[in-house]
Symmetry: C2
Subunit: 304 residues, 2 copies
């Protein structure tokens, strides 16, 4: 029997930049994965079905398996806008609100995102991170940080609920400032990591987290004064932004021991910044998304 | 006698985006002004002399007048990098440190910028705003705000000194976020000003100024929830950024009555945000730059 023949679920992690398709067996074990740069912002005129067929056409033709997708594919810019579920929300509540889109004779079930919308608790949204967190199977009351383009900090509640969360545009700001702003003029990107420059940035960004639009300008001054080389400046700026993020959250939640979920290199940066703030953190397994998708599919009754 | 024949100084306000050349008579009175999009970031290979000749070649040929320039033309990306003068600095100290570049048989005197470089007082730089402030002739101890791509807050000292200052990348962040970030996806730019959306942004940005990378994400959530229309969202974001800037400075300098110097529409936004924080402000005359340039040229002995 071919490995593929034990497949039970096709799981799509469909984000802004990339589509990552996995063929899953029992308990979310990954049999095969394929990635393409066919993310939501890369596809014009919502031509998502051709992208899907180009990526896993053989799986669609070869196996009659249920399909689930999480991430920005359910956003306003995605295949269909799947209504947000109000936070706090449990895995079970979200699994009851999957939205189907047809793929030929079959259907793809898209996981809704979560929203917070209240004068007292603020306004915020997430799509995809909820499924990653359910894959990490955290104890109630645990804090998790999912670093990225839009970093999420969230706390779990009873029965797998996501109790509250907040988004920080740290990764996107770093990209904008290095690629398009005056700060990038003095920088050489794609350089080796400079721990020294990053840590100095964390110190500065933490001290001045309450005036971030001012704090980041230090990456201009430091470049003009030759305090850091053009190769070190991106890490100095990265430290300022991540340091400010951690400092601002520490003010609001002073006693947390978060679990980091995500890309290894980025998690290492957050670990350095958390350590600077004497915050002890742990790491989740790297690929929690497919396990989360498996659990949602199971709760929704999609699995045989 | 032609008006031009009473000219005494050619004054160049040469910034990142534009060159604004003025022919000045007694006391900095403007006889003629010409603007071109020949700013420092618009000119390749430092071909500044051809830009200057194309703009005011007739003035160069017709009158034998001293020439002065302030702004980014003296930066590392400019005609020549004019060394910064350490802050606090007076008009007289800066006038002693003009740097000449040859323009044919003549010379152009470039005004240095100011820097702060100390562990206790931070790191910061400015180029051009010092000259604008000297044109406003502020009493010692006065605070000034110069809104813009890189907003400056500064305090004057005795004898026309600039005592301290800080830069806030508010304008550049607004440009980056509306043009290149996910926030811009929901926005319709170049819309009429929405005071309602701007004021709501000021409230939000002020309350959450200590976590700006989170606060700006409200412009995504508010768009998705249809709290503001695509035409109103840019003003909501503008309010968040300006509100956060004012709130962060108010924490540091709680009792100031600043003078606003700059573009009328932008000053109006700052006035709304300052009023929200019960900060009374005043306006300087609109074109303080040429008067400042006149004063620096006078102190440097350039005028006949």
């Amino acid at each position: 029997m071919l490995a593929e023949q034990s497949g039970q679920l096709i799981a799509l992690d469909w984000g802004t930049s990339n589509l990552r398709a996995s063929l899953l067996a029992d308990s979310g074990r990954v049999l095969q994965t394929r990635s393409t740069p066919g993310g939501v912002m890369q596809v014009s005129d919502r031509k998502f079905e051709p992208v899907l067929r180009a990526t896993i056409g053989d799986w669609l033709d070869g196996f009659n398996l249920p399909m689930i997708a999480s991430g920005m594919i359910g956003s306003r810019q995605g295949w269909v806008e799947v209504p947000y579920v109000d936070c706090p929300a449990s895995l079970g509540e979200v699994a009851n609100k999957l939205v189907s889109v047809p793929v030929g004779e079959r259907s793809l079930k898209i996981v809704p995102g979560l929203r917070i919308q209240s004068p007292a608790r603020g306004w915020d949204v997430m799509r995809g991170e909820e499924t990653q967190v359910w894959g990490a199977d955290l104890a109630p009351g645990t804090w998790a940080i999912l670093p990225g383009t839009h970093s999420k900090w969230l706390q779990t509640g009873e029965e797998g609920r996501i109790q509250k969360f907040s988004t920080h545009m740290t990764g996107e700001l770093f990209g904008l400032l290095t690629k398009h702003s005056i700060l990038g003029r003095l920088m050489q990107l794609e350089s080796d990591f400079s721990a020294e420059a990053f840590d100095a940035g964390v110190r500065h960004g933490s001290a001045e987290h309450a005036q971030l639009a001012h704090a980041i300008f230090a990456a201009r001054t430091a470049g003009l004064m030759n305090d850091w080389s053009s190769a070190q400046l991106p890490d100095f700026l990265s430290g300022i932004l991540i340091g400010a993020e951690v400092a601002s959250m520490r003010n609001i939640e002073p006693d947390i021991h978060p679990v980091l979920i995500g890309d290894d290199a980025l998690c290492q940066r957050y670990e350095r910044a958390l350590t600077f703030h004497h915050i002890h953190s742990m790491r989740a397994a790297e690929s929690t998304t497919s396990i989360g998708q498996w659990r949602v599919a199971h709760a929704a009754g999609l699995l045989k």
